[in-house]
């Protein structure tokens, strides 16, 4: 259990940040997801695709939290070179170097403008989840995951050329 936490914490946290949560809310949701996983396993429930399971639970909790939290950070629709709200007071130096890379900037602009489900598919893929794990996490079919990624890659490809 703790090993899985070790493996997934950062990945989950980055995904929850993409969903617009604060780091603190994200960390709490990860804790809660793992406590629920503990109960899930104690009840003798299936052990297949646990990574997908944890992402699904964390995502559901995150969406609930986001609805409950009226001041949640709005997703950036028009990317202007900054990331969502809570990062305004960060130390700019490493980031400045990062944003200097025009190509990454363009890709991020597209990623942040994607519809929620496409963005989730892409973020989860970026976090190393397999397609069937993403399908489990989002409650959609394997084909839908592939179609979503194909759509996003098409847009990313276009941004790259432009």
């Amino acid at each position: 259990m703790v090993e899985l936490f070790h493996e997934l914490r950062e990945r989950l946290l980055r995904y929850l940040l993409v969903l617009g949560l604060s780091i603190h809310d994200g960390e709490e949701i990860i804790q809660e997801s793992f406590l629920l996983l503990f109960q899930h396993l104690q009840r003798g429930k299936p052990r297949q695709n646990l990574r997908g399971w944890v992402f699904r639970v964390a995502r559901n909790l995150a969406l609930k939290q986001r609805m409950a939290n009226q001041q949640h950070v709005r997703r950036v629709v028009e990317f202007d070179g900054t990331v969502p709200g809570q990062h305004i007071d960060r130390n700019p130096n490493p980031e400045e170097q990062l944003w200097g890379r025009q190509r990454q900037k363009r890709l991020l602009a597209v990623i942040y403008a994607l519809p929620e489900q496409d963005q989730s598919c892409l973020s989860m893929r970026a976090e190393g989840l397999r397609y069937r794990e993403i399908a489990e996490a989002l409650g959609i079919s394997l084909g839908s995951v592939a179609a979503s990624l194909a759509r996003s890659l098409e847009k990313l490809g276009r941004a790259d050329g432009g």
Binding site: V2, R14, L35, R90, P94, L108, R125, Y131, A150
Partner: protein, 290 residues
Amino acid sequence: MKEEHLHVHVKDEELLLYSDGEMRPGSSGDITAHLEFCTQCRARLKELENTLAEAGEAHRAVWAAELPTGAGWEALLKARLAELAAQKRENVWMPFARAVLAGSGRTAVLASVGIVLFFVVAIRWHGFETAGPIAASIGRGEKPDFRLTPGATVPVTQSEVCDAAAARTAPAVPVSLRRRVFEEYGVRPPQPDAYEVDFLITPELGGATDIRNLWPEPYQDTVWNAHVKDQLENRLHVMVCQGDVDLATAQRDISRDWIAAYRKYFHADRPVADSSSSNISTFRRSLPST
């Protein structure tokens, strides 16, 4: 016929599924054969994989500088899991109780009413805490994470620590440093009402205003909270100044495990009543300068 088939290129979705090992050789959707001779599809597959990799890199890089260390959260999860496991052991008797109650119809009905009433009262007493998220109902943060907060001191002697004229009161922790402490422990946004950004080794015992010596300590949530630690700090200060404990020992004990230190110096398993703390404070204030 075969020629015709060759000109129908593989769709991006299928290429992606293939690259994720979902279209195994021999399966109905196998496109291995097609890829073998279609350079265009192979190039497309490569392109898709590259774009995915780059998007992944960009995604991870955005938050690279933001993510706090997970050590504190891992320790917290372990504690919560242990607590959950303990709760489960305590609840083992419940199925037996139900089986006994099910023995007689009338008794069962009465018992059910009793159980419902019990839960209604219990939930009221707990201010609906039990209905909240699991994570919120389990205590946390009593002890600092050793890796984040090992303790740090300034060079100071016993007589300097005990010199009433130059009483070392806790310096104000700068707001920026406070914020860093909250961030380090993943408390976002900072919650100054719920936590005291406390010195692990109090300045009264030579503790430094340094991030390695500061952590967010809950005021009320736990048995071992900030007020209890204040009691220990006061007692240790008195003992150091009376020569009962040397300064280095006091610093070491409080930084290693302040709860164990409390038990040691108070000879008590649980926090003693608050009055003793105020007595000690009064006592300390009245100490003659040495």
